[in-house]
C-alpha cells in the first residue's frame, strides 16, 4: 500500500510517500488512520484532529468506513485551498 501525505500533514509526518504493509486488522480508512498514528510522534501529531483530515483512496474522496487493500494508493491531506 502506498500512503501519500500532503501540505502540513506532510511536514508533520516528515515524508511525502510511504510504502507500507499494514496488519490484517487494518480493513478500512478508520483502522488505517489508527494504525498510522502509532508509527511515530509526527504521525500522531498529524492525525491528532481528524476533523481537518481528508482521505482519498485511489484518487477518490472517501469516508472513514471505506475499505483499504494492499494495492491501494491512500492520500491523506488537509482541506484543500486551491483556486
Amino acid at each position: 500500500m502506498k500512503v501519500l501525505w500532503f501540505a502540513w500533514l506532510r511536514t508533520r509526518v516528515g515524508t511525502a510517500e510511504e510504502t507500507l504493509t499494514p496488519p490484517a486488522e487494518v480493513r478500512d480508512v478508520r483502522t488505517l488512520l489508527d494504525w498510522l498514528k502509532q508509527r511515530s510522534p509526527g504521525h500522531a501529531e498529524a492525525l491528532k484532529n481528524l476533523s481537518v483530515v481528508r482521505v482519498a483512496v485511489n484518487q477518490t474522496y472517501v469516508q472513514p468506513d471505506h475499505p483499504v487493500a494492499a494495492g491501494d494508493e491512500v492520500a491523506i491531506f488537509p482541506p484543500v485551498t486551491g483556486g
Binding site: F6, A56, Q59, Y61, F77, P79, V80, T81, G82, G83
Partner: protein
C-alpha cells in the same frame, strides 16, 4: 478541457481558441484568480501551490463534467497553476461559453466554487510572519454548498 501547469496562461488567447469557429456561442464568462498581497494582517511575499498530480486532473475533469450536465455549455476550460507565485500573478482560469449568458455565468461561478473545495491544491504563504499553510475557509464551503441539490 482541463490543464494543470506551472506556466502562466494568456486569457485572451485561451478565450479565442475556445470559442473559435463556434458561432452558436453568444456569451463567454471568464474567472481569473490572482495572488493577493495580504492575508488577514500578514503581508505576502509569495505563495507556493502544492497539488496531488493525478487526482487533481481527475477532480477537475469530474467538476467540469458536472457543470456540463447541469448547464447547456458550448465549451469550457479550467487551467490551474501550481508552484511558486508572486502577488498579482494568475492562479486559476475558468471559462464557460454558452448560447445564452445566464448558463455561462452560473456554470463559471459553480466551477470556481466547487474547485475551491474539491480540487487537491494547498497554498503555502510566505508571509512577513513566516511560511504558513493557508487554512480552508468556511466561506468557501458555504459557497460550494449553494450548488448541492436538495
Amino acid at each position: 478541457m482541463i490543464r494543470v501547469q506551472r506556466e502562466d496562461f494568456d486569457v485572451g488567447a485561451e478565450l479565442k481558441a475556445l470559442t473559435a469557429g463556434r458561432h452558436e456561442i453568444g456569451g463567454a464568462v471568464t474567472f481569473v484568480g490572482l495572488v493577493r498581497d495580504m492575508a488577514g494582517d500578514s503581508k505576502i511575499g509569495a505563495m507556493t501551490l502544492e497539488h496531488y498530480p493525478g487526482m487533481t486532473e481527475k477532480q477537475l475533469a469530474e467538476i467540469e463534467a458536472e457543470a456540463k450536465k447541469r448547464w447547456p455549455l458550448s465549451a469550457s476550460l479550467i487551467v490551474h497553476r501550481y508552484g511558486r507565485l508572486e502577488p498579482g500573478e494568475q492562479i486559476v482560469l475558468v471559462i464557460t461559453a454558452s448560447a445564452h449568458r445566464e448558463a455561462a455565468f452560473e456554470a463559471c461561478h459553480f466551477l470556481i466554487d466547487w474547485l475551491k473545495t474539491k480540487a487537491p491544491f494547498w497554498k503555502l504563504e510566505d508571509t512577513d510572519q513566516g511560511a504558513q499553510w493557508v487554512a480552508a475557509e468556511a466561506r468557501d464551503d458555504k459557497a460550494a454548498e449553494r450548488w448541492t441539490k436538495p
